[in-house]
Amino acid sequence: MKDIVISVRNLTKKFGSFTAVDNVSFDVRRGEIFGFLGANGAGKTTAMRMLCGLSYPTSGSGSVAGYDIISQSEEIKRHIGYMSQKFSLYNDLTVWENIDLFAGIYGLGRADTKERAVKLLRRLNFEQERDTLVGSLPLGWKQKLAFAIATIHNPEVVFLDEPTGGVDPITRRQFWELIYEATERGTTIFVTTHYMDEAEYCSRVSIMVDGEVRALDTPAHLKQQFAASSMDEVFRTLARGATRGE
C-alpha cells in the first residue's frame, strides 16, 4: 500500500441541502497521472479543494501524501502543489518576483531559489520575460508559469484544476510535456480537464457525474467497458445521465 499517495473514503461535501460531492472513494498511486473528469458542476473542484486542505469535508475521510485531510492539512500543504482553475498568481508582480515569493513561502533558501528559478526560466524559454509583469503575459504562458511555481518545491502530488482551459493547442501540448517531465521525477499528477484527448494521456481516469464517481479505470479499459472508440464517447455516455445542469 506504500505506493498509494491519495486515498479517499466516502468523501462527502454538502452546501446546505446541495450535495456537491457525494460519497466518493478512490485511490491514486504514486507517479501516475490521475485524470479527474466530469461535466461542469459535477463536483470536481470541490473534491480537489478538500484534498488540498482548502475545504473541510462534511463527512468521510482521506489522506494525501500520508497525512489526514482533516487534521493534518497544513502538513499536506508542504507536500503538494496546487494550480487553481482561476489564475491566481500575482498579476502585479514580475515572473521572477512571483517565483521568488512562492519559493520563499515554501521555505527555499535564497541560493536554492535562484538556482531553481534560473533552471525553470530556461526550461520554459522565459529568460527574456524574467522582469515582465505576470499580468501582461498571454494566458498560455501564465498557465505554464503557474505550473512551474506549483512544482517549485518538488511536491509529491500536484493538483491541477483545468490547467489548459482556454489555452491554444500548441501550448497545451507543451503543458503536457511539462506534466510528463514532472512524473518522470516521481511526482503524482491529479488533473481535471474537459479535453478528452488529454484524458487519453492519463494513466487512469475517473469520471464524476452529479457528485459521484461513476467510472474509474485506465482509458483503454474504460473504452472497452463502454464499447467506445474514444474517451469522448465514454464521457458522453456517462454524462448524458447527469441531472445537474451547468
Binding site: Y90, D92, E97, A103, I105
Partner: protein, 367 residues
C-alpha cells in the same frame, strides 16, 4: 525569516506598482493637514451685532465702540428702534441684538439696576452661543472701563478667563491631533482590509492558502507595511503642523510615536479582522464605514466626551481612538509624560493585542 521578508517585499512591490496608492499615501496627510485645520475651526468670527441705543449716552456709545473694535464682533447697525434691529436679524444682517435701555448711564451711576438685554439668533447654535459669550465679555469690559474712570482705585475685572495649555484658545491646535487620528484611521484602517479583500477577489489568496504559510506570518505581513506607512504619515503630519501652524509638541516626540505605534496596530488589527469576515470590497467598505463613523464621532475627536450623555460615555470606553486622542492632545498641548498617561497606553496595548489575536484566529485557510 526569509519567508517573512519575501512577503513584506511583495506587499511593498504591490503598493509601489499600484498607480494610485503611493500618491495617496503622500498626498493624503499633506492635504488634510494643510486644508482641514483652516476650515475645521469652530472659532466664531464676524458675529454681527445690532445695537438698539435707547440711552444715547457716553456709556452706550462706549459699548458700541467696544463691539466695533472687537476682533470677533462687528457692528452691523446702531439704531433707536428695536423693530429696525429685529428686521436686520430677520434679514440675516445681524446675529445678535443688544438693547441698551434709556437712562442706563444715569441709573448705573447711582447704583440702580437697569439691564441691558441681548437677543441672539440661535439657529446657528454655535454662532449664537459663542457670539453671546463674546458679547457679554465685551460689554463687561466696556462697563468696567467706564466704572474704572469714575473711581480709578476700584478697577475690577468682572470676568477673568485664562486658558491654560492652549493660551490663545486656538481651535486649530485643538483639532490638529484629531486630524492626525483621522489620518491613521483612513490610511491604516482601510488599506490592510482592502489589501486582504483584494486578494480574495482576484483569487491570489487561494494560492497562499494552499501553501504551508502560517496564518500568523501572513497576518503579520499585512500588518507591518501599514504600520510603517502609518509612521510615515505621522511624520508628515507633524512636520506640516509644525511648519504651517507652528504647533510643536509640548511633550516628548518619542511618546507620540509610541502612542501612534500602538494605535496603528489597534486600527490595522481591527481592519484585518473585518476583512476576514468580508468576501467583497463592497462589504468591507460598508462595515468599515460604520465603525469609522463611530470612531470619529464618538471618541471625542470632534466633540468632548464629557458632554455626551452618560450611556454614550460608557460606549466610548470601547472605542480605541478615545484613548489615543487623550494621549495626543495631552502630549501635544500640555506636555504630559508617560507616567501620567500610562492607563491610556495600557488600554491601547490591550486593544492591539485583542484585535490582532482575533485577526489571526479568524483568518481561515480551510473552510
Amino acid at each position: 525569516m526569509r519567508t517573512f521578508s519575501v512577503l513584506i517585499r511583495k506587499e511593498f512591490l504591490q503598493l509601489k506598482r499600484n498607480p494610485f496608492m503611493p500618491k495617496l499615501i503622500i498626498m493624503f496627510p499633506i492635504m488634510i493637514m494643510l486644508i482641514m485645520p483652516l476650515i475645521m475651526t469652530m472659532d466664531v468670527r464676524n458675529v454681527n451685532v445690532a445695537v438698539v441705543d435707547l440711552d444715547n449716552s457716553t456709556a452706550s456709545r462706549r459699548i458700541a465702540s467696544h463691539i466695533d473694535a472687537s476682533e470677533y464682533l462687528s457692528l452691523a447697525a446702531v439704531t433707536a428702534e428695536y423693530s429696525e434691529a429685529m428686521n436686520a436679524l430677520e434679514e440675516g444682517d445681524a446675529d445678535i441684538i443688544v438693547q441698551i435701555p434709556s437712562d442706563f448711564e444715569r441709573e448705573t451711576a447711582i447704583g440702580g439696576n437697569k439691564r441691558i438685554s441681548i437677543t441672539a439668533n440661535a439657529v446657528n447654535a454655535t454662532k449664537g452661543g459663542l457670539g453671546m459669550q463674546y458679547l457679554v465679555q465685551t460689554i463687561a469690559r466696556a462697563l468696567a472701563e467706564i466704572k474704572g474712570e469714575r473711581s480709578p482705585a476700584g478697577i475690577t475685572e468682572l470676568v477673568t478667563v485664562k486658558n491654560s495649555y492652549n493660551p490663545t484658545l486656538n481651535y486649530r491646535h485643538y483639532m490638529i491631533p484629531a486630524l492626525m487620528i483621522m489620518l491613521f484611521i483612513l490610511v491604516c484602517g482601510f488599506l490592510p482590509a482592502l489589501s486582504i479583500v483584494g486578494e480574495k477577489e482576484n483569487g491570489s489568496i487561494e494560492q497562499i492558502n494552499v501553501t504551508p504559510l502560517s496564518r500568523f506570518t501572513f497576518t503579520l505581513s499585512k500588518l507591518v507595511p501599514y504600520w510603517l506607512i502609518g509612521m510615515f504619515v505621522l511624520t508628515v503630519a507633524m512636520t506640516v503642523a509644525w511648519l504651517v501652524y507652528g504647533l510643536a509638541p509640548a511633550g516628548s516626540v518619542g511618546l507620540i510615536y509610541f502612542g501612534a505605534a500602538l494605535f496603528i496596530l489597534v486600527i490595522s488589527g481591527f481592519s484585518l479582522m473585518i476583512a476576514n469576515f468580508s468576501d467583497t470590497l463592497q462589504q468591507t467598505m460598508f462595515v468599515m464605514f460604520f465603525f469609522i463613523m463611530m470612531f470619529m464621532l464618538m471618541s471625542g475627536l470632534l466633540t468632548p466626551v464629557d458632554s455626551m450623555p452618560d450611556w454614550a460615555q460608557k460606549i466610548t470606553y470601547f472605542l480605541p481612538p478615545r484613548y489615543f486622542i487623550d494621549i495626543l492632545r495631552s502630549v501635544y498641548l500640555k506636555g504630559t509624560t508617560l507616567a501620567d498617561m500610562w492607563q491610556n497606553f495600557t488600554a491601547l496595548g490591550v486593544f492591539a493585542a485583542i484585535f490582532n489575536v482575533l485577526a489571526t484566529v479568524t483568518y481561515k485557510k480551510q473552510k
